[in-house]
Amino acid sequence: MTFRVGYLTPRESNIWGLRRQNLTQSDIGRELGVSRQAVHKAYQIIDHKLEQAFLEAAETNNLEVETVNVVEGVMIAHSPAHDIPVIVSISKVNGLKVWYLYEGNCENCHLEASCRNMLEAEALERGIRLQSLDKWIPPTQLAMEIFGRYLND
């Protein structure tokens, strides 16, 4: 079961998306026609589910967790096996993804186009405006353009 269908219900996913747009609990409540208390309760459930998802990802990929940002859906970790930093991301469009921070080689990769599509969709969901020049940089750099901002949080 993937994150997209398995972790959050459609309503929770909707609330999480609105929260990422920096809307207040009252605003989200008004938008969805529910009370602020209901949104607050949903926040707690969402946070717990996302934390669980991140911990599962860390366990599966043998990662050491450093920080978890459930609002943005990003976990910073370290891979002892490869001795490199790792970013784990969760989004509605791409689900749960693990990003290894090292000099990847996109030149000979047959997945370059799919990777680029995935990252463009990720940026769109996160409200990150890509520069026109970003279309020419390799997906590995594009990934850092999107996820690098969470490293200094």
Binding site: I84, G95, V98, Y102, S114, M144, G148
Partner: protein, 96 residues
């Protein structure tokens, strides 16, 4: 300063395709959902039904199928009735 991030670990063998990277196929799945298929199916069924029984009620022999925006109107009415049925069902499910 690291400036690159890859969804594959160093030295990992890359598969032919991986789940989640196929945005185009998921887009197609999104467009061709149950609701759209039912609507398209009902429209085709209505057109076939109309074409089959065309001679039995077209007494004066005029080609009404292609006149007065008939197909466009029929498509619109089919879509409208489909949407009403869908939302009515959804409303009933929500309140049950």
């Amino acid at each position: 300063m690291i400036e690159n991030a890859c969804p594959f670990a160093p030295g990992e063998v890359k598969p032919e395709s991986i789940k989640g990277l196929k945005n185009q196929s998921s887009l197609l799945k999104h467009v061709l959902n149950k609701k759209t298929l039912v609507l398209i199916g009902s429209l085709i069924a209505l057109i076939i039904l109309y074409s089959r029984s065309y001679s039995s009620f077209n007494w004066d022999g005029s080609r009404v199928l292609f006149q007065d925006w008939y197909i466009v109107k029929m498509s619109f009415y089919t879509y409208l009735s489909g949407m009403i049925t869908y939302y009515f069902k959804e409303y009933r499910q929500k309140n049950s």
